[in-house]
């Protein structure tokens, strides 16, 4: 796993400086910049959300974010720069939990790579969120990963409980 020195991967408790991230990634060869900004919304399945609490396995999350960046570059060599910042801790409505920016000469690559990055991040990066409702709280259930590298439950299932 080699991460390109100009790419940016961060995990932080502080609010994400999106504009700063974008500025640091913008090079003169870029013609398109696509940014995904995941923000805390005030509802989930009709239920009113007060805030979200993110918990991270921080050192591993950072490793996985870098791995994801390398994977994106392998799939889309035309990517000029990629940056991923994930926040953890307690987040209010409309605060950003994750920001992913991809630049490239042409827009198609930037869109595809950015969408792939957020889809993949949600499978591989060890971060968990809990929804805080007005009258309770609940961990958001993640999907069982489709990735062979992560699929472990078969082996566990075959053991007696």
């Amino acid at each position: 796993m080699t991460d390109m020195p100009e790419d940016i991967f961060e995990i932080t408790r502080e609010p994400i400086d999106k504009l700063g991230l974008e500025r640091r990634l913008l090079t003169s060869a870029a013609g398109a910049m696509v940014t995904f900004d995941g923000v805390v919304r005030d509802h989930n399945k009709e239920r009113r959300v007060v805030r979200l609490e993110y918990e991270a396995y921080a050192p591993m999350a950072l490793k996985e974010m870098k791995r994801l960046g390398a994977e994106v570059r392998e799939r889309w060599p035309e990517v000029e720069r990629i940056g991923i910042i994930h926040r953890f801790g307690s987040l209010e409505i409309s605060e950003s939990s994750v920001v992913i920016t991809v630049t490239s000469a042409h827009r198609r690559v930037a869109f595809e790579a950015c969408q792939y990055a957020i889809d993949r991040l949600k499978q591989t990066v060890p971060i968990w969120k809990k929804e805080i409702f007005e009258d309770g709280q609940e961990w958001v259930e993640g999907q069982q990963p489709s990735d062979f590298r992560l699929r472990t439950s078969e082996a566990v299932d075959s053991e007696p409980g």
């Binding site: 995941g38 993110y54 918990e55 991270a56 396995y57 050192p59 591993m60 999350a61 490793k63 996985e64 994930h86 939990s97 994750v98 957020i118 991040l121 949600k122 499978q123 591989t124 990066v125 060890p126 971060i127 968990w128 969120k129 809990k130 961990w139 958001v140 259930e141 993640g142 999907q143 069982q144 990963p145 590298r149 992560l150 699929r151 472990t152 439950s153 078969e154 082996a155 566990v156 299932d157 053991e159 409980g161």
Partner: protein, 81 residues
């Protein structure tokens, strides 16, 4: 041998702790330490069908062997983003 076990998310909350040190006889693998962890924290039993693992900060399968001093993380499917 000693394995440092880390728990995250709903697993951490269910067990009521973020980590514990598991003493276990060699040879051990992920699923044996997971079983020992469930014995110590029976609240983790309900995560048995879904739990995921990482060894030394790398995703790992249940049959991965462990060495003395390894760190095993146990957690539910991730839900970041």
């Amino acid at each position: 041998m000693k394995i440092m076990v880390l728990l995250f998310g709903a697993c951490r909350e269910a067990a009521g702790t973020h980590q514990w040190e598991c003493e276990i006889e060699a040879p051990a693998d992920v699923k044996r330490v997971f079983a020992a962890t469930r014995e110590r924290f029976p609240e983790l039993d309900r995560f048995e069908p879904v739990a995921l693992f990482a060894v030394n900060e790398e995703h790992a399968r249940a049959d991965q062997p462990l060495r003395d001093g390894d760190t095993l993380a146990i957690f539910p499917p991730v839900s970041g983003g």
